[in-house]
Amino acid sequence: MADAATKTKSETPQPREVKLPVLEREKLVLNKRSYHWITERVCGVVENKQPRIWWALFIPTFLMALIGVGGGLTYLVSTGVGVWGNSNRVMWGWPIVNFVFWIGIGHAGTLISAILFLTRQNWRTSINRAAEAMTIFAVICAGIFPAFHVGRVWMAWYLAPIPNANAIWQNFKSPLLWDVFAVSTYFSISLVFWFLGMVPDLATIRDRCKAGVKKVMYGIFSLGWRGSNRHWSHYEMAYLLLAALSTPLVLSVHSVVSFDFATTIVPGWHTTIFPPYFVAGAIFGGFAMVLTIMVPARFFYGLEDLITMKHIDNMAKIILLTGSIVGYAYIMELFVAFYSGAAYEMAAFKYRMTGPYWWAYVCMISFNVLSPQLFWFKWCRENLWVVMGVSMCVNAGMWFERFVIIVTTLTRGFLPADWKYYNASWVDILTFMGTIGLFTSLFLLFLRFLPCVNIAEVKWVKEESDVHFDDKQEHPDDGTSAESAYQHELEKGTAEV
């Protein structure tokens, strides 16, 4: 007894080994897939026979594009813009709604490829290629509408500042001309960025092809890339520069689109909140579209180890964030209308919410503000059906947002005699459906012919791609390995300083 008592007192407690939990980042490539596996899997999408679902989607969407865009526009041009539902009061009906809708979709692609690159978000690597492709195709769809909305499409070249026989020059003070420059620059730079990112991967496919037309085509577009480090050095610089240029560009494009509205003196449009509100909405809608196309593509092509649940989780969180920003903008718009005390402004918003287009407003709020709130819950971000459902809602919601902004405002001007209810014509609907078909079929062709995941960059995010990987293996030490390997090298005198 006494013995035990003295023992407990005299014994100094052994210092318990304290191990701090190391919060490991989730791996971006699951199951320790090798470089060769990544090459095989991504190139396999291009090289193997397409799954049945590809044809099941391609044939109807291609027909939709043919009938909708091809047929609809042929009818429009041969008859006149009167076949659209636009009228003297509502000059910007569905065509401009669709234009803003599509141009917004593109923004997520540039956000992923440029802004997430600058902020060193490595998870972007496996989704950036498809998102950039989506940008290009969305801008193509967007461009159709203003080009034909000019009325006489054969005069569309008047938009370009080219000397002409009438000695007339464009009005450079007009946001509409700014838009021409913004959208065409956006398209060109996105295309350059997309192509440049694809060159090493096209070379990968080229090196795997047997001799033939395919090899020649991939060979031409891969520019003879041979993975030289002296080239990579310039290449990475070019990529960084393009990312740095695209970042302000993408913010400017939707800001300029919003200037089309904000610089007018129309109640409901004449607000300074428009540029940030439009940009947030564009990114919001774009991410929803990325999820809408990537979740099925990932499933059908077995890319689950490259586009992981972590990626989907991140995108869902961005949708939640931007959706909430958009919700804030909706509320702020109402508050400012109320706080301004301007009778016309208040009337415009009252009409928006309670007028004959109340249903569009309800759709907008419920799809854009309420549905993304589900993403507060982890279970919803992990359930792909919920993710797809919310993305679909957001896609529709963003279209309704543009509809609400454009149509409710234009149907009620300052002259009550002008007030009318706007209905889209069947040609409007057909053309819009056609652009959905065009977008989808272009994306399917992209999956068929081009590497849909950035092979080189995905290889780069693997652990063993770090040049100090071997040293880390030799000197493992609880998660702080990068620093210690560097220290070790410093002692050896081989570190790059």
């Binding site: 470089y35 060769h36 090459t39 500042p161 000695a167 007339i168 020059w169 464009q170 009005n171 450079f172 003070k173 946001p175 001309l177 700014w178 420059f181 913004a182 620059t185 060109s188 350059v192 440049l196 090493p200 990968t204 080229r206 090196d207 795997r208 031409i220 520019l223 003879g224 890339w225 041979r226 993975g227 030289s228 480090n229 002296r230 990579w232 310039h234 290449y235 990475e236 610089m237 070019a238 520069l241 393009l242 240029l245 695209s246 560009l249 400017s252 200037f259 080189a456 960059e457 290889k459 780069w460 063993e464 791609s465 770090d466 040049v467 100090h468 990987f469 040293d471 081989t494 790059e496």
Partner: protein, 185 residues
């Protein structure tokens, strides 16, 4: 056709990982070789320093490209709006005070010109497109776009010697050392 005397392009050696390549590159650099290069499936960060490659000069090109775009758009807008065809809309001025209204287009063209300069500058600096290259004749080089890490030392390097370089590549850990010929295409 003429009798073909094949010239030697250089030696190509494979390395098993990025780390091995990195260490080998330091040794090649320290041995004083100039005409040589590493070939990798993805951009290996840190390899530039290991090879002694300087920072790319592309940003200077892009800067001047951007400035050209800025100047072009400014003169395009100013000359047409203020000089030869003033459009008076909503009583807005058509003189030097109009310039702020040109900012969006000045910005867009700056970005447009810079972006294309980045693309063409890159192609110029890399001497691409170049669809033929002696290395493409190698039986193993196609792996560089898949999972192979290679170093090639060219014969035109003053330190190159047929036996010495081959041995050197073996010493620093290279495998599958191959003599690559230049058939003069």
């Amino acid at each position: 056709m003429s009798t073909t005397v094949k010239r030697v392009y250089g030696y190509l050696a494979e390395f098993e990982s990025a780390s091995a390549l990195y260490k080998a590159a330091e040794k090649v650099r320290d041995a004083g070789f100039r005409k040589w290069d590493c070939y990798t499936p993805y951009p290996v960060h840190g390899l530039d320093a290991a090879m002694g490659v300087k920072r790319s000069i592309l940003p200077y090109f892009v800067f001047f490209g951007g400035m050209t775009g800025l100047a072009t758009s400014f003169f395009l807008a100013y000359v047409t709006q203020v000089g030869i065809y003033p459009t008076v809309v909503q009583g807005k001025p058509a003189n030097i005070f109009t310039v702020p209204a040109f900012f969006p287009i000045m910005f867009e063209l700056t970005v447009l010109f810079s972006g294309f300069t980045a693309l063409f500058g890159l192609m110029g600096l890399c001497q691409l497109p170049r669809w033929n290259h002696p290395l493409f004749a190698s039986r193993q080089f196609h792996r560089t776009t898949d999972d192979g890490f290679f170093i090639a030392i060219e014969a035109r390097d003053p330190k190159f010697s047929a036996e010495g370089t081959k041995g050197f590549l073996g010493e620093i850990g290279g495998a599958n050392i191959e003599l690559v010929e230049d058939d003069g295409n």
